[in-house]
Symmetry: C2
Subunit: 245 residues, 2 copies
DNA sequence: CCCGGTATCCCCGAAAACCGGGAGGGCGGC
DNA sequence: GCCGCCCTCCCGGTTTTCGGGGATACCGGG
């Protein structure tokens, strides 16, 4: 309830109001970093959730991050064990790194991730998970040697993070695939029916095609996505947003 | 940037700070309603997303909502066409009802929903969609005859909505199903492998079972969920949160 | 003008999944 | 102690899917 808190909250709201007008991702980055730096953070990053097997690097939307940490993180494969990432799957509320509950299963690797982060100057951090209609999508990470925030400031950063994500996604949108759908319309059609448990024959009837055509679409979809059977293809197509529901 | 805005923002943050200490859902309801009433809203509701075929009624966590509207809404089946609900699937940012883009497909029914809402005293509204690691979960709706909010107030309500959701979910948690899983552990195991494209034989090897056993689990899962084949079962099990990823 | 992608159809043999039975043992509740 | 559920295995027959070959046609870009 201090004046400092109020000032920070006001600045956060002003920043959010201003984000809409920015079109250069670097402007977004600078604007946000300038503000969070004021509460003790030395680093920050806005990142998408990488696909399994993918690295974090190409999924960073914006970042001011310790030299070398990222490549090390990817090389060692920390991502799979990072307790902060794992916690993002479980919570929508922002959290400080040291508040993440321990998972006995991953304890040794998890501890290693956090220790190595500390060695890179990130002894403490704060993370705002981002979720949308399709689930966990990414997050905003803030880190530094030591951090202290009042609950009110944490809330302001929560809100800031949500809008920062939108702004980062919007301003870096040009990097995304152009119209780039992997599957054709028909392939998506048959997969949608498959997801409803339809056989090829039913799908053929419903779409007015021959069973062979439906089979061809399923086969092509399999080979495009690189999946093993229809079930696998449907799941992956869903993850890739090629089909919905 | 007005004083009124600042006051509202401060009150919102105070309210959020106070939510943690409430344990009675009615306290949460009253606390929030008192605040939103001050910016012209006569009604508000916090609701889970109903499963397909389910009604909204039992999914309301908290609500101050026009008499009769809810039962009418359920009876007529407005839910399927409600453009506000549909928009929640597409956006994470809060929005005013009149900002929802038109969907040509649903135009007649969608218009009807909005007109009937207006007749029930809800000529305008504001909605905060709630998404978690599993996607769109529900939302906070605010409504009244007419509303006007500055961007800053909208942001404050955004944040308020997120924490109100947590508080509502927490305080009404006792209503939820006790441990109620539909599938057995083994059934979930085999479905998880199926989702990765494994054949029954591979799954059997991986789990150290016979193919017949795996088949039995798949069969039982099918009959429990009421699905038509493995693909369908996996998709439904995913929707029912029986399996993840 | 050719190439790549899409949309549509065809065939066939092999592999996998599905169906509807059984069956035995364990474990927890009423 | 019985009933219900879970875990595990088995069988025989039917349906569906998979894999790998085809084919024809359209359409748009380099």
């Amino acid at each position: 309830m201090s004046d400092a808190d109020d000032a920070f909250i006001r600045q956060s709201f002003d920043l959010i109001d201003g984000l809409d007008s920015l079109s250069d991702p670097l402007d977004v980055q600078k604007t946000i970093f300038d503000l969070v730096a004021r509460c003790g953070f030395s680093y920050f990053a806005i990142t998408r959730l990488p696909q399994p097997g993918e690295r974090i690097g190409p999924n960073l939307l914006l970042s001011v991050w310790p030299e070398g940490w990222l490549s090390h993180y990817d090389r060692v494969g920390h991502y799979r064990h990072d307790p902060v990432v794992r916690h993002c799957f479980r919570t929508t509320e922002p959290f400080a790194w040291n508040e993440v509950p321990h998972e006995p299963d991953h304890a040794p690797q998890a501890r290693r991730v956090m220790e190595e982060a500390r060695e890179h100057g990130m002894g403490a951090g704060y993370c705002v998970p981002i979720h949308d209609a399709h689930g966990f999508q990414g997050g905003i990470s803030l880190a530094g040697e030591r951090i202290e925030m009042t609950p009110r400031v944490r809330r302001a950063i929560h809100l800031l993070g949500l809008y920062a994500w939108s702004a980062a996604a919007r301003t870096t949108a040009r990097h995304r695939k152009p119209g780039g759908r992997l599957l054709s319309a028909r392939e998506r059609d048959v997969l949608s029916f498959a997801a409803q448990g339809r056989t090829r024959e039913e799908t053929a009837d419903l779409l007015g095609l021959s069973v062979e055509t439906v089979s061809t679409y399923l086969r092509n979809a399999r080979s495009k996505i690189g999946t093993r059977n229809t079930t696998h293809t449907v799941i992956e197509a869903l993850r890739l947003r090629e089909i919905v529901l």
